[in-house]
């Protein structure tokens, strides 16, 4: 057997001769016994000694701590001091209502291109006098360059060098409240400047696991102390990229570079819900983002193909790139799996993929080709596990 695949994570990290970058928590990962792998140019923990399965289940049962410092944090600060100026400017690149986003709130969105494809998905937080944008690690440089090229010169852009720590799981709020009591009152997608152990942090109540939790932006020099204080709490285990991927897959959350990319538009990606009413047909600021005509037309006409959840009927995991067929034998592929694996909380294999619109009704049976055999899968609603967000 080849053990090369054992360290595989998706998306495949670009091959590069450059030395890997290290996050501010690198030394802590090594002390914790993490298995480190290259990911998007960084040395990142794939898993810790507990192992992927336990890390995944522990996050759903209690709380997991993730180093996501490889992601790009970009501050957009208008020199005028008027945050609305940055909001208005960014709306030219993104089909999201940012002008209407209150200070202290964030929204999920995506950068689109002229063809309506998804260049990246991201979170935008509105803060006094600025926007704080979190983009995917692999798209950090491209995203920054796109902002640089398309936003007015009087909006300062900085790549924020802070660490980003995610604390996720049903016990996350209780744990974080011990260090920062004011976080307890936050709701899903709230963003607050909070001092943790004296360090000035930016905390959002959000994440990428389908659980309640927080993402904590913390100055690099304080990152280790904050992470260690959280890990010292009995409910918290460190969790690597392996479980981060299985958690987000069960939660039905797309991964850019796997499930969504410039070749998919938001409507076929089943992300039309994120396009704000103000930016849709008949909205107060209709269109005005790259690919608007294509995307808004697709919303009206309905997409010809769509991202769906898939549950293999058997026990064999069906993984990314497996071709999908309408029948058990013969015919051409009608779609493909874009993410797939074993769902530890589901206790069975789960997958996501694209299928023609006619085959996307829940309960529809399709077939994936795995090692020369066609295995049956059933189209299933996403997420595969109930979301634990604190919306109230």
């Amino acid at each position: 057997m080849s053990l090369q695949a054992a360290g595989a994570v998706s998306p495949v990290a670009p091959v590069s001769a450059d030395p890997l970058a290290q996050t501010p928590l690198h030394a802590l990962h090594l002390r914790l016994g993490a298995k480190m792998v290259p990911f998007a140019g960084y040395a990142m923990p794939l898993q810790y000694p507990a192992g992927l399965l336990k890390e995944h289940l522990h996050t759903r049962a209690a709380a997991g701590l993730f180093d996501v410092s490889h992601m790009g944090q970009i501050a957009l600060t208008p020199r005028s001091g008027d945050g609305a100026e940055a909001a208005r400017a960014l709306e030219a690149l993104i089909p999201i209502d940012i002008l209407g986003l209150p200070e202290g709130r964030q929204r999920y969105g995506f950068l689109t291109d002229e063809a309506g494809g998804i260049l990246d998905d991201l979170m935008v937080a509105r803060l006094p006098g600025r926007l704080h944008v979190v983009v995917n690690a692999a798209n950090k440089a491209a995203g920054f360059a796109r902002f640089r090229a398309h936003l007015p010169d009087d909006i300062d852009m900085t790549l924020v060098p802070d660490a980003l720590i995610a604390l996720q799981g049903p016990k996350a709020a209780e744990v974080l409240a011990r260090l920062a009591p004011e976080t307890e009152a936050m709701r899903f997608m709230d963003v607050r400047a909070v001092a943790i152990l004296g360090a000035p942090c930016l905390v959002s109540r959000s994440g990428y696991t389908g659980e309640d939790g927080f993402e904590i932006s913390v100055p690099a020099e304080h990152a280790e102390a904050v992470a260690e204080a959280l890990l010292a709490e009995a409910e918290v285990l460190p969790v690597g990229l392996g479980a981060r991927d299985s958690l987000r897959l069960e939660a039905g959350l797309p991964l850019h570079g796997a499930d969504i990319d410039p070749g998919t538009n938001p409507v076929e990606a089943s992300l039309a819900w994120a396009i704000s009413p103000a930016r849709r047909r008949g909205g107060t600021r209709e269109g005005g983002f790259p690919g608007a005509e294509k995307i808004l037309s697709a919303m009206e006409a309905g997409p010809s193909r769509r991202r769906v959840g898939l549950r293999p009927e058997g026990r064999a995991p069906v993984r990314a790139e497996a071709p999908l067929f309408a029948a058990e034998a013969g015919g051409e592929p009608v779609g493909r799996v874009t993410s797939g694996g074993f769902g530890p909380s589901v206790g069975a294999p789960v997958a996501m993929g694209f299928l023609p619109a006619a085959l996307t009704a829940p309960g529809t049976r399709v077939f994936a080709e795995v090692r020369g055999q066609r295995l049956p899968l059933v189209v299933s609603p996403l997420p595969f596990v109930p979301a634990g967000f604190k919306r109230g």
Binding site: M1, S2, L3, A5, A6, G7, A8, V9, Q47, G51, L52, L53, K54, H56, G242, A243, D245, S246, R315, A316, P317, R319, G341, F342, P344, P349, R371
Partner: protein, 120 residues
């Protein structure tokens, strides 16, 4: 006689039938196993071909036939409980038994000490 391959399989010879599994080193590298697929009894395997599949949460790995022969038995318990292959890979987590075309080919494989040095 216990032998190892550079593809991280082990074989234990009894007469001309070898019991085959993955090594403890491989099991540790793969992590928690969630799926095992084994060859069919009666299948004729050629050395080096994909004979079985073990999957962790994150990846699928082929297990290659360490030598040529015919499958005489498979470990259904490993299929029913894939985790057992990870926790006891060189005992109860064996995969299949292979009647070797040429038992003397075992001599070309590594002994335990040589494999331990190889897997370091």
């Amino acid at each position: 006689m216990l032998r190892f391959t550079d593809e991280h399989e082990w074989l234990r010879l009894d007469g001309d039938v070898a019991t085959v599994g993955i090594t403890a080193h491989a099991a540790e590298q793969l992590g928690d196993l969630v799926f095992v697929e084994l060859p069919k009894v009666g299948a004729k395997l050629t050395k080096g071909e994909a004979a079985a599949v073990v999957e962790s949460v994150k990846a699928a790995s082929d297990v290659y036939a360490p030598l040529s022969g015919e499958v005489t038995e498979v470990n259904e318990a490993a299929v029913a409980d894939p985790a057992s292959v990870g926790t006891d890979p060189q005992g109860g987590g064996w995969l299949y038994r292979l009647k070797l075309d040429d038992p003397s080919a075992m001599d070309e494989l590594m002994d335990e000490a040589a494999y331990a040095a190889f897997a370091k």
